[in-house]
């Protein structure tokens, strides 16, 4: 096909078309200018500012668009106020003077990220220190130095600073990662990434400071922390070690949000922290993430907290987050099978003293299951958002029905079976968002960012006999039998107001798992679930479907799913289909048999966006099907593929065919956006952008030193129909993208042949190739 298109007649016709298309587009842009050309400048400015916040390179891209935008951008300082300095990137450093110049006198939001900030960067910024409104420093080393340098810059230092963050730049935690240990904190201090007494004095000189995020303000050696007044501070996020001494010395009359990571603490330290945090009169949001030092207390005996000062009731606090774990991330059964006690009564009391809680998150509270810390009735009435991360498999007895009449969001991460969860007891008539993630291990299929509470360990089993007062292993017993548990999960089949449902119940063939019957959700828009449960969900307004996978049998069900009328109705109305929505590969490692998406395509008549899986060569199947029938998925405009196609030429050709069809037939949309994990070489990007824009693509040109990337262009091996195979030193995705120079493929023989750039979970939505002009549907009709 490709070679046939190179015949002189075809080339001539293609060139003719492109010339005419350019001419028509020029006329069209005069007659019906793009909507943004008619939008008031204030709104354009707002859009550009939002784009600049999202991507620091935005001003430079806008400069290159047209003369009108160039002039507007250069004359609008607010578009230049977001400065992102990647200190390890020379290009980012070169851009700094332009941002400082064109932002004129505007207040600046500055981010410094990377290994170590060179003095030249701090010196350059010092000229505009008085304009800095927000300063976010995230460095491997000496993170506090830029703050100190800019604070002393003449004439007034950081006199306008409102938000300050000083943090250690690090990779996200992976499976098995521990919470920040003493050693980690010491390293942070050695690397000068924490604030100390010097910095605290500097903080007091910042009259506008309203938000502070910092690491380890308190050193264990300091006994008497000098009083610190930060009267404008509204938001504080700090890491403390062992005690809340810094907090006790802090005077913040305006503080509304307090988020503390309390490392290596004892029971007393935790209690003192709670007492100290309740003195702030304006506090609305309280979050404490404590790691407990096993050497500090005897955790196998209940704690007599009755003799302590009681916590005062606080009406202002509406959001509470509590996370607890031992510093070594272990749960130990002592001699004689004694469990480790955490602060059961304390949790009970701390939750009860906030009667107007609307948002409660109980994260990773080991050996404490919800029966022992269930909120009082007043809170049940007001609660709107609830998150429970249950780190143990607790064999609980059924409990009375618990009504949460106003709850709108519920997230439950734990081991879900009839005997191990209180979910069957919950009634949530107003629930709009439900997420139930069942797994024996503490992993999450999608959200890698909550790893802090997901250490990748197995959930330990706890049963009634083990966790009872008779064995002195508990301060409370499991509740007596109340009624038989509902074999189905009422929270699913009685929550009729759900708009979003995320459901992972594990291998559906395991009988112990909780189940649910066929249910109609009248307003459900977004659904994450396995293909096994999909037929039981009737959702006449469903727009987004994200498939989760857990068992080999599901691939067979996937192939056969579109055969039923009900399934076809679901597929007909979908606007977005994400075939394999696991971002986290740890979630399961089942090598599934190949699926065939082909049967699904005829029914996806409303689909605008499709996200293919990494494997199964789905993008190649799609190219094949679209080449044969360009009418399929007539509403489709955007394709995301975590892997690259085997043939770029085939992809380009089917896009041309589809988009030229859409010009004649208004019922068929043009495909205008392709998204891949990383940027592709310009020799690939250019022709694809032509095809997406509605033109005939310029011919592909081989990439120097990487001929295998576009191997269709290479001469065939003599005596064979095959082309020269690619070198084996790069992974498929790297050589296919034309970017082999950064490939770190493991040696041949290692099980996975992908390099780390393509192996790990996608941390971003990828890199898009978009059309110059998107509205070509029906252009020639």
């Amino acid at each position: 096909m490709f070679h046939s298109l190179q015949s002189p007649l075809r080339l001539d016709l293609r060139n003719q078309f492109n010339t005419l298309f350019e001419e028509a587009r020029r006329k069209d842009s005069v007659l019906t200018p793009h909507p943004i050309m008619r939008v008031p400048l204030d709104i354009v400015r707002e859009i550009f500012e939002a784009a600049a916040r999202a991507d620091p390179d935005t001003p430079f891209h806008l400069l290159e668009t047209c003369m009108a935008w160039r002039t507007f951008v250069l004359e609008t300082p607010s578009i230049w106020k977001n400065i992102h300095i990647a200190v390890d990137n020379d290009d980012a450093l070169k851009a700094l003077p332009a941002f400082l110049l064109f932002s004129k006198t505007w207040k600046l939001d500055v981010t410094i990220i990377g290994t170590h900030a060179p003095e030249s960067v701090v010196d350059e910024l010092a000229q505009a220190a008085h304009r800095i409104h927000a300063l976010d420093i995230c460095l491997h080393k000496a993170a506090r130095e830029p703050f100190r340098g800019l604070s002393s810059a003449p004439p007034d230092g950081l006199c306008s600073l409102s938000c300050l963050a000083v943090e250690t730049h690090s990779e996200p935690q992976i499976r098995g990662a521990k919470p920040q240990t003493t050693q980690a904190l010491e390293r942070i201090e050695q690397d000068q990434n924490s604030l100390d007494g010097t910095d605290m004095n500097l903080l007091q000189t910042l009259p506008m400071l309203t938000s502070l995020t910092a690491l380890v303000l308190h050193d264990m050696g300091i006994v008497d922390v000098p009083p610190l007044e930060l009267l404008s501070l509204k938001s504080l996020r700090i890491v403390l070690r062992n005690s809340a001494a810094v907090l006790q010395s802090l005077k913040c009359e305006s503080l509304q949000s307090l988020d503390v990571i309390l490392e290596d603490t004892s029971r007393d330290g935790w209690w003192d922290f709670l007492l100290a945090s309740l003195v702030y009169p304006q506090l609305v949001e309280l979050s404490v993430d404590a790691t407990l030092d096993r050497e500090e207390d005897d955790w196998s005996t209940p704690w007599d907290f009755q003799s302590r000062t009681r916590l005062h009731t606080r009406d202002t606090i509406s959001t509470l987050t509590i996370a607890l774990a031992f510093s070594d991330w272990q749960y130990i059964w002592g001699l004689g099978g004694k469990a480790e006690y955490l602060c059961g009564y304390l949790l009970d009391e701390s939750i009860a003293c906030f009667p107007y809680l609307s948002n409660l998150h109980i994260l990773h509270v080991p050996f404490l299951h919800s029966p022992f810390i269930w909120p009082i009735e007043q809170i049940l009435l007001t609660l709107r958002k609830l998150e429970l991360n249950v780190p143990a498999v607790v064999y609980d007895k059924p409990s009375p029905v618990i009504e949460l009449p106003n709850l709108s969001e519920l997230r439950y991460y734990g081991f879900v079976s009839l005997q191990t969860t209180r979910l069957p007891s919950l009634r949530t008539p107003c629930l709009q968002y439900l997420e139930i993630m069942h797994h024996q291990r503490d992993v999450h299929p999608i959200h890698g960012q909550i790893n802090r509470y997901w250490p990748g360990e197995l959930r330990k089993s706890i049963s009634g006999p083990e966790f009872s007062t008779s064995k002195n292993n508990s301060v409370k017993d499991f509740p007596e039998d109340i009624e038989d548990a509902d074999p189905l999960l009422p929270i699913i089949h009685q929550s009729f107001a759900l708009q979003e449902l995320r459901l992972y119940l594990g291998d559906p063939l395991r009988r112990a798992n909780i189940n649910f019957g066929s249910t109609t959700f009248p307003v459900l828009k977004r659904l994450y679930c396995s293909i096994f449960y999909l037929p039981r969900i009737v959702a006449p307004q469903l727009e987004e479907l994200h498939l989760l996978w857990s068992a080999k049998d599901e691939t067979r069900r996937f192939d056969g799913y579109p055969k039923g009328d009900k399934a076809q109705r679901v597929l007909n109305q979908l606007k977005m289909l994400d075939i394999y929505s696991h971002a986290n590969r740890e979630f399961h490692e089942v090598p599934f048999k190949r699926i065939s998406v082909e049967q699904w395509f005829p029914y996806l008549t409303s689909l605008c966006m499709i996200i293919f899986p990494r494997g199964w060569m789905c993008i190649d199947h799609f190219i094949d099907v679209l080449s044969r029938d360009p009418h399929i998925c007539p509403a489709l405009t955007t394709i995301t593929s975590p892997t690259y196609p085997t043939s770029w030429v085939s992809l380009c050709h089917c896009l041309e065919t589809r988009n030229h069809l859409s010009m004649r037939d208004p019922s068929v949309q043009a495909i205008h956006t392709l998204r891949f994990p990383l940027a592709v070489h310009q020799n690939i990007h250019g022709p694809l952008q032509d095809a997406l824009s509605g033109e005939f693509a310029a011919p592909f040109v081989p990439i120097p030193l990487q001929p295998w990337t576009l191997r269709e262009l290479q001469p065939q091996i003599p005596g064979s129909t095959a082309h020269e195979p690619p070198l084996e030193t790069a992974c498929f995705d790297c050589y296919q993208s034309g970017n082999t120079f950064e490939c770190e493929r493991p040696p041949i023989g290692v099980r996975s042949l992908d390099c780390p750039r393509h192996l790990g979970p996608l941390s971003s939505p990828g890199v898009a190739i978009t059309a110059h002009r998107r509205d070509i549907s029906g252009y020639l009709a």
Binding site: L20, F21, A24, K27, V30, L31, H660, M663
Partner: protein
């Protein structure tokens, strides 16, 4: 809208219509070439034409 602008707009519209007509013709020519080629290579018939 003054008279001169109206005239210019009308002229632009005519040019646009003309360009579109020519584009349509060229696309049809390309489509017929594609068809003749694919008919020779493959006798299977798609439920829809593969091109315009």
């Amino acid at each position: 809208m003054d008279h001169a602008t109206k005239v210019k707009r009308k002229r632009d519209l005519m040019h646009l219509r003309d360009a579109k007509e020519k584009m349509r013709t060229v696309l049809l020519q390309i489509a017929s070439l594609e068809h003749s080629k694919s008919d020779l290579q493959d006798s299977s018939v798609s439920p829809h034409p593969t091109s315009l």
